[in-house]
């Protein structure tokens, strides 16, 4: 029983990290209606940037975010302008291919620069823990969780308390209408892509401290992130957060109660059942344009 409880706590703490990574992905979908298959690779890029920065400057991995988040923001902005914006026809399908190509390219470049060996971000607290009853909670998961929470709160504030956030939300609701009322949809898209990348950088740090990674790690990441945002409802931030928690908690509990080999199976069953009942996902808006 305690084990189930521990697994649930662990699931919630690690779920926060996935929530953060998925929030960027779902934001990008919401604004641009494209699925960024390269998101996993960009998280890995964020982890490598933090790795390099913490090595070179001898600073704490979390502190590197001061550098990596702005850098990733600019990178995301640039990627959107150069690769996504030119797509005029078949945007949805072509953007999948373009972002997949970006992922492959990043994997290649990271492999060239950092090699294929697994690396992991180091910090004094990555093995330290404090006890709660019989169970010990690890600092790094708590720090990661708090960071994710903070960034998600900032994200929500930007979206719901600023004028720019309002134009992002307007674009998410209806691209054409947003254009009609004078919103520069292209600029909003690029900024949203940048914000998505900045959150990927933050997610990358926590991912990089808790997991050994190499340039190929993005394949596993992206398949998990995609299922999260589909379960939550494409384009819904709230959905992404809830779905990430559902995924990690269900997997961790299955893992300790039944067996690790069935952990993702159980999650996929949840996913399919939810989609059959609500094809738009937990918090998604049913998109049926023009009827």
């Amino acid at each position: 029983m305690t084990l189930v409880l521990e697994a649930a706590v662990l699931g919630i703490l690690t779920g926060g990290v996935y929530a953060l990574m998925a929030s960027g992905l779902t934001l990008i979908f919401g604004v641009m209606r494209i699925i960024n298959v390269g998101h996993g690779a960009l998280v890995v890029l964020g982890a490598y940037l933090s790795f390099a920065a913490s090595r070179a400057l001898h600073i704490d991995p979390f502190v590197t975010l001061v550098i990596t988040m702005p850098v990733m923001f600019l990178l995301g902005f640039g990627l959107q302008v150069v690769f996504i914006r030119p797509l005029k026809t078949d945007r949805e399908a072509l953007s999948v291919l373009v972002t997949y190509a970006i992922a492959l390219g990043l994997e290649g470049i990271l492999g060239y620069v950092f090699g294929a060996n697994y690396v992991q971000l180091q910090a004094w607290y990555d093995t330290a823990s404090f006890p709660i009853g019989d169970f010990r909670i690890t600092y790094v998961y708590v720090f990661g969780f708090v960071l994710c929470l903070a960034i998600l709160v900032v994200l929500f504030l930007i979206l719901y308390r600023t004028t720019f956030g309002a134009s992002i939300r307007a674009t998410m609701l209806n691209r054409t209408a947003a254009q009609l009322i004078g919103i520069d949809v292209d600029r909003v898209s690029a900024v949203a892509f940048g914000i998505g990348m900045a959150t990927a950088a933050a997610g990358g740090v926590v991912f990089g401290i808790t997991t050994a990674f190499n340039p190929g790690s993005h394949y596993d990441l992206i398949s998990r992130l995609l299922t999260i945002i589909v379960l939550g409802g494409l384009g819904s931030l709230r959905g992404a957060v809830i779905a990430a928690l559902i995924m990690l908690v269900s997997e961790d509990i299955t893992s300790v109660v039944i067996s690790p080999v069935w952990a993702s199976f159980v999650f996929f069953v949840i996913l399919i059942v939810v989609l059959l009942v609500r094809p738009q996902g937990l918090y998604g808006v049913r998109v049926r344009e023009r009827i």
């Binding site: 492999g111 697994y118 010990r136 961790d252 300790v256 080999v261």
Partner: protein, 403 residues
């Protein structure tokens, strides 16, 4: 009718192959190319790099002493992107398009198995450093030679011997097992489990987890909860590190901890765990400190060529180097580099490598009871601790608390 047609076809093929084979050695000094498919991208790219280092170093040594039976060697590497489809195409291409004289094996059983049937089709010998899963040997092929001291499933046998050899009061009473669902790790853990259960040591926990798992913590928590005296893990590097970290976080210190891969990878392992590597064990056929045939030379040359320290040398590189050593001795013995002759000579006799002496049975499994040893991290380096014939130090038991 049909069979006779096929028979005729096969005999024609055999002649063609023989003809191809005989062209190479007619001119004794003709340079040759040895082809290898290695993973330079994808899941196995880290190991692929180590194989290249080992093969290159061997080729350099051979050429320095005049070549393989006088043939100067060029290595040709092609990337299999860690995919079975590409590895099949690659060996097909190496043998028929590039007409390489010899081929060496790729990384992992996963790729070795599909590759081995292609190589067998052309009558080439297939000495390979990293494909030791049970299915490699059960397909009826006679050209495979697995150049490691024991078939993979026997990797943990000496560890179980050591455990069962401990005095009754010291012996662990329970063991927790967890392993990746992988043809390399699972067979060894399963064999260790059956041996230890037969010796009366109870199993506190046993789990197989998918190879794609990225979050190992729940499984590690289960191991922690079992509070077993001994922990046996079928891991690669990332999970080897993740399990150890969770144990440290949860202040769980088993009396002994062994992981199938990870602790043997030198600095790649220790720079993630710091001083907490102390006491962790790994089955190893090779160590930089071993006094096996040519090992000192290998280690010093390796450091000269690639930098780093002895602890940084991956066992993969040593295994690749051994492949070359075995082929060199077999060629000398057969006085030929024809594949057919190499194959028949490799099926008899004992070969000296930096991993120790080894012989091969008809399916290519390593023979001779040489076995895999146990390595343990002590004072910041992994050293042989068992059996005593090769040990550089006593095994530390029970292992010290985490720092």
């Amino acid at each position: 009718m049909r069979t006779s047609l096929r028979g005729a076809l096969l005999s024609v093929l055999a002649m063609v192959i023989a003809a191809c084979g005989s062209t190479a050695p007619t001119a004794p000094a003709a340079p040759i190319t040895i082809g290898v498919s290695v993973s330079q991208s994808g899941d196995f790219s880290g190991d692929g790099k180590a194989l290249v280092q080992g093969y290159d170093l061997w080729a350099q040594d051979e050429n320095a002493k005049g070549g393989l039976l006088g043939h100067k060697i060029t290595m040709k590497y092609v990337d299999d992107t860690s995919s079975t489809q590409q590895v099949v195409s690659n060996y097909e291409g190496l043998i028929t398009r590039d007409k390489v004289a010899l081929v060496f094996g790729p990384f992992s059983s996963l790729l070795t198995i599909p590759a081995s049937t292609v190589v067998a089709r052309y009558g080439y010998a297939f000495p390979e450093p990293a494909g030791g899963g049970p299915h490699v040997f059960d397909r009826g092929l006679t050209n495979i030679f697995f150049v490691q001291p024991a078939a993979v499933e026997d990797n943990l046998v000496s560890y179980t011997k050591w455990l069962t050899g401990l005095s009754a009061d010291q012996r662990p009473t329970s063991v927790a097992y967890a392993t990746q669902d992988d043809p390399f790790t699972q067979p060894q853990v399963d064999k260790a489990k059956s041996l230890l259960e037969a010796a009366g040591i109870k199993t506190a926990y046993y789990r197989v987890y998918p190879a794609e798992t990225t979050d190992f913590t729940p499984i590690a928590l289960n191991v922690v909860h079992s509070q077993a005296d001994a922990v046996i893990l079928g891991t690669q590097l990332p999970d080897a590190v993740a399990f150890a970290k969770t144990f440290i976080q949860q202040h769980y210190n088993p009396k002994t901890l062994i992981e199938t891969t990870g602790p043997d990878q030198g600095a790649d392992f220790s720079n993630k765990l710091g001083t907490n590597t102390e006491g962790i064990m790994v089955p190893a056929g090779w160590t930089a400190n071993a006094k096996a045939y040519g090992n000192d030379k290998f280690v010093s040359e390796f450091i000269a060529k690639y930098g780093g320290t002895a602890a940084d040398i991956s066992a993969d590189a040593a295994e690749a180097y051994s492949v070359g050593q075995v082929v060199d001795e077999a060629a000398t013995k057969a006085n030929s580099i024809e594949n057919a002759k190499l194959i028949s000579s490799l099926h008899s006799g004992t070969y000296q490598t930096i991993q120790g002496p080894m012989a091969f049975d008809s399916s290519g499994k390593p023979q001779g009871g040489v076995g895999v040893y146990i390595e343990q991290w002590q004072n910041g380096a992994a050293i042989f601790v068992y059996p005593s014939s090769v040990a550089a130090a006593q095994p530390e038991y029970p292992k010290k608390p985490w720092s």
